[in-house]
Symmetry: C2
């Protein structure tokens, strides 16, 4: 299996992506090959350390880069030789089975839709993240691919999240919640109120509105929201945990008693940090594409890139796009009829 | 000074509100009087413990209750004798100087607007919460009063938040950030992109888009968002800290080493918990009303009710509504001209 990595995407530059690729190859199966897409002169200096993995690491030249502030439509129209575009072109021509990028999410989504197309009947792909919950992980989507969503899109996200949670996390008949500001059906903004009615009438295991506090409890298997809210929540959670850890140091561990107590606690703190480590979950799959695309955090370090490669590889093996397509076919008759009738 | 408390609002019932009132009276100045508004038969049994404060505690009868699932328009049209309505009527007639409620936020907002009216030139009041940041507190608005906001409303929230942060937190020329999903001006949903342009051209100290991770860093003094996103963030932060504290117990403190280490750390953990304690900040002021209204969390315990009373009292003394009105007059010429021109 071959997977393309957008070497030019991400805040840390081609070095971090190349290091992630080498890490993925050293940990992954022998038949995994990776293609780093971008400017060869910026990629190749980072490949000296690749060792034995080097034979399974290739470079595909792409002279342009989609910048983090470029609009998706600009990238689609004006950058046919951008690394993210060349990576998806390799996917479309069958040379790779998946694309992983830590670049501009909007551009990844737009180029992926243009080059690979969408699964039949699904309006827009969504980026799905796995949040580490206190009891169990939760699939949250969309976390940044679609800013302004319709109620029907939120319904489709519920279907895609449900299929993904069954496959990736092994949940049977996953519970699906709609992110809102109160449990009652009448709460939320206009789109959320309409989505509530569509989800309620769908064959999904819809448990109603959930609130921000439920995103990390692990009580809900799948949480549906628009990509603006989902992205804000994702980054809020990261920032809050970082702030809390800083406070933990200034208020607890760096005090004289804390240094003494901390000696006993160091292994436990490390275990706690591992449980809340978003890098272990790697990227967010773009569900709804005809193919496999993973979006990584802009500041992904090699470990996160390697995790995303591993997940992309599992998605290819698990034929996630076919599962989504079949699941939607099965469900959409009744759901779309309900949507049209309401 | 007299302040009305909606005794029927809040998940914990009249007992918690009454206990909060007694706490506020015992801590507050001698000339503070409180009016508990609601069903006397449900309030009076909780007043036995009031002691010396009892003489400054009154009950105003209101037979109806705005339920948490009642729509704001239903409450406005059909419940003229609901406790929240009677409380604002007392404010309008000058019998009290402020209203505090832990009830249905949408109903508090709608009734407050109907009975007291809005400050001239401001479209909608916003609920402003103070988030405890790692370096300094941040005023975030709206946190739940307005679900679907226009770009112009977000601009006005920026003004109100700026004036409030100057008064309440003593910030000079507060920095104002717009909550979005990337720092660049072109990022966000359609409303946020338009609000960016309005804020950029305003006389506010606008620092551009900020992301979820900045909400608790304390680097930004005022954060503007719609009430849907703001409310989700507020509850996410509460839930995440609660989940993290649970994990801290199962992974750290309840282990054998943790119990030993925990002995040294208990005072530090308590100090940490105090720093992140949202109850100490009490309610969220409804900025933009002709008068003073505070919304408390639905599950407010007596301590949180007492904090909100103290803040409402300070708002009355500080003439916050006049400051907002004057601030808006001063700013609105240039800002509205810019908004109209764009």
């Amino acid at each position: 299996m071959r997977i393309a990595l957008d070497a030019m995407g991400g805040d840390l530059g081609p070095g971090a992506v190349a290091a992630g690729a080498i890490q993925a190859l050293s940990q992954g199966p022998r038949d995994l090959e990776l293609v780093l897409v971008g400017r060869p002169e910026e990629i190749e200096p980072h490949l000296n350390e690749s060792g034995a993995a080097g034979r399974r690491l290739h470079v595909a030249a792409a002279p342009d880069v989609a910048g983090m502030s470029d609009s998706p439509s600009y990238v689609v129209r004006n950058l046919p030789r951008a690394s993210i575009r060349v990576a998806f072109d390799l996917h479309a021509s069958g040379e790779v089975a998946a694309v992983v990028s830590a670049g501009n999410s909007g551009a990844i989504m737009a180029v992926g839709m243009l080059v690979l197309g969408r699964l039949p009947g699904l309006d827009r792909p969504a980026a799905a993240a796995v949040f580490p919950g206190i009891k169990a992980p939760t699939v949250v989507l969309d976390v940044g691919a679609n800013m302004d969503c319709s109620a029907l899109m939120l319904l489709q996200f519920g279907f895609m999240g449900s299929v993904y949670a069954q496959w990736a996390l092994g949940y049977k008949n996953p519970s699906v919640g709609l992110l809102s500001i109160g449990e009652e059906g009448g709460k939320g903004n206009n789109v959320v109120k309409r989505a509530y009615d569509l989800l309620k009438d769908s064959p999904l295991n819809f448990v109603g509105n959930i609130e921000g506090r439920d995103l990390f409890s692990g009580d809900i298997n799948v949480v549906v929201c628009d990509g603006f809210v989902g992205n804000v929540c994702l980054k809020l959670a990261e920032g809050l945990l970082r702030s809390y850890n800083q406070l933990m140091h200034t208020e607890v561990l760096d005090t004289p008693a804390g240094m003494l107590g901390g000696l006993f606690l160091k292994p436990s703190f490390k275990r706690l940090a591992r449980r809340m480590d978003h890098e272990a979950y790697g990227g967010a799959p773009l569900l709804g594409l005809k193919g496999v695309g993973y979006i990584c955090h802009g500041n992904s370090r090699p470990k996160a890139i390697a995790s995303a490669v591993r997940m992309a590889q599992e998605s290819v093996n698990g034929k996630v796009d076919q599962r989504l397509s079949q699941g939607w076919d099965r469900y959409s008759g009744s759901a779309l009829n309900n949507a049209a009738a309401s």
